[in-house]
């Protein structure tokens, strides 16, 4: 029974993720698009959970669903001059369609030709503590890249603050 529940959950999550992505692309209302994106993020978080990567799932929910989507919605609401600007008319662009078709072709080619490693899931999946060990304490770990990326993010944040508050805002 456990196996079938897992399969069912996977199907639901995967379909939800795909459906959310499609919904995001097709909805004309930019607010709806943002909420569809949030939906996709949550579904992907659920997929991580199914893979026993609970830490990753939670970080996915927190960062992408909790922070990134909210920030996007926030920016949309702040910059919308009028409420009806949220709904955009459908304009067909041949060049965009071409680009999308090329992208689809490449993706299809890549995926159909790729060989995926046949690795069974570990009996005991790596938990949060192992992740911390790998990141910080293990020999040849990822401490330096981690710190560098933190520094880059900090610089970006300072720049963003300066950008929005710098000139004529009090």
């Amino acid at each position: 029974m456990g196996e079938s529940v897992n399969t069912l959950a996977f199907l639901v999550m995967a379909l939800a993720a795909i459906g959310g992505a499609v919904g995001m692309l097709t909805s004309r209302n930019i607010m709806y698009a943002a909420f569809w994106l949030l939906w996709t993020m949550l579904s992907v978080g659920g997929l991580y959970l199914l893979l026993s990567a609970e830490f990753l799932a939670l970080i996915q929910v927190m960062v992408y669903a909790g922070a990134v989507s909210v920030l996007m919605l926030f920016v949309i609401m702040l910059t919308l001059r009028r409420r009806e600007d949220a709904v955009r008319s459908l304009d067909f662009s041949p060049s965009a369609a071409l680009l999308a078709a090329v992208f689809l072709g490449i993706m299809y080619y890549g995926i159909s030709n790729a060989t995926f490693p046949e690795v069974a899931l570990l009996a005991e999946a790596p938990n949060t503590a192992d992740l911390g060990v790998v990141l910080f304490t293990m020999e040849g770990g990822w401490l330096l890249p981690f710190e560098i990326s933190a520094l880059v993010l900090l610089a970006a944040m300072v720049a963003a603050v300066w950008w929005t508050k710098g000139q004529d805002r009090r």
Partner: protein, 339 residues
């Protein structure tokens, strides 16, 4: 009993607990606020007014559900659920006793905090969908304050995590059993090392409860009712329930992290085991009383003061404290990792 059935029952128990909690907390809020203001609170319906809140729930359920004309229908309907569901999910990892919990997650602490952070999304949705300017301002405010206080809240629990080396809530509780020098319970709150973290935790957790002094998103004297202005009947009830459930979760987290969860000092395990949930609930309700006491006393903070406090004081303070704390426990080898 198959494990699937057992988990289903646990989930149902959590839902039941949440609904019960909502009713009890509303009654408690009315009585506590009443007493704080030298009033009586509800006394008329049933003995000591006990039936007042069930009757109000009935009223909310049977009331006409009004959908204003201009609302964004889809989002307007989803929003109450989007607020309610995360609050409900947050019950999953709370350890009521060594055995009483929906699921013993390894990342229980992170899970609870992450799930609670999703509440603000629903509030934003409600604010946008309501087609009401007060709602919109309320929704924006709520998201602003939640984002700002998410960070200090998450960081403020880090000292505890560094100390015990786990995100599992029941392990954190177990680390606090026993006594300190034979007199004080070995709860983290009795250890001065955790006081800064506790203060920051309480301040940022109050935001989650969404009540004075931080009830900017519904600020009744400014925004009429904020994000909930256009909601009626049980949709409004769901917002309300979620708010009370959040105050329960916040209090439960504080008890788990700093007040030793279900543990009691000087009580042997055999005695403690059956009464552990009662001990836990009692502690949580004392915490909720303090929240209500704060609610009945303080005026509202202004939005920009709140933001400045978060970004300019709280976050630097908590970052500094994590650094200092790390040095202290490394230098004096104080950490007591469990498991």
């Amino acid at each position: 009993m198959s494990p699937e059935l057992a988990s289903l029952l646990r989930i149902l128990a959590a839902v039941g607990l949440m609904l019960m909690n909502g009713v009890i907390l509303i009654y408690m809020l009315r009585r506590v606020l009443g007493r704080l203001h030298q009033r009586l609170g509800p006394v008329h319906v049933g003995p000591q007014g006990l039936l007042q809140t069930p009757m109000d729930v009935l009223k909310l359920l049977t009331k006409e559900d009004i959908t204003p004309t201009n609302v964004d229908k889809a989002l307007y309907f989803i929003a109450p659920a989007a607020v309610f569901t995360p609050s409900l999910m947050a019950y999953a990892a709370i350890p009521f006793s060594p055995t009483w919990m929906v699921t013993d997650l390894d990342t229980g602490l992170l899970y609870t905090l992450v799930v609670m952070s999703l509440v603000s999304m629903g509030l934003l949705m409600a604010g946008w969908a309501s087609a009401n300017k007060w709602s919109l301002i309320g929704g924006m405010r709520s998201v602003g304050q939640h984002i700002a206080y998410e960070i200090p809240l998450l960081l403020s629990v880090l000292p505890v995590v560094m100390y015990v080396g786990t995100l599992n809530l029941s392990s954190i509780v177990e680390a606090q059993s026993g006594t300190w020098l034979g007199i004080l319970p070995q709860w983290f709150i009795t250890n001065p090392l955790f006081w800064p973290a506790f203060i920051i935790f309480i301040v940022s957790a109050l935001i989650k409860v969404n009540q004075t002094p931080f009830d900017m998103s519904e600020a009744e004297s400014e925004l009429v009712a904020g994000f909930a202005t256009e909601y009626s009947s049980m949709k409004f009830g769901l917002f309300f329930l979620s708010e009370f459930s959040n105050s329960f979760i916040v209090s439960a987290l504080a008890v788990t992290l700093f007040f030793g969860g279900w543990t009691l000092p000087f009580v042997p395990d055999e005695v403690l085991a059956p009464i552990a949930p009662v001990v836990f609930m009692l502690k949580v309700y004392v915490g909720i009383f303090v929240l209500m006491w704060i609610r009945g006393t303080l005026p509202r903070v202004r939005m920009d003061h709140l933001m400045q406090f978060a970004w300019k004081i709280l976050i630097p303070a908590v970052l500094t404290w994590i650094l200092v704390f790390g040095f202290i426990i490394k230098l004096f080898d104080l950490g007591r990792p469990v498991g």
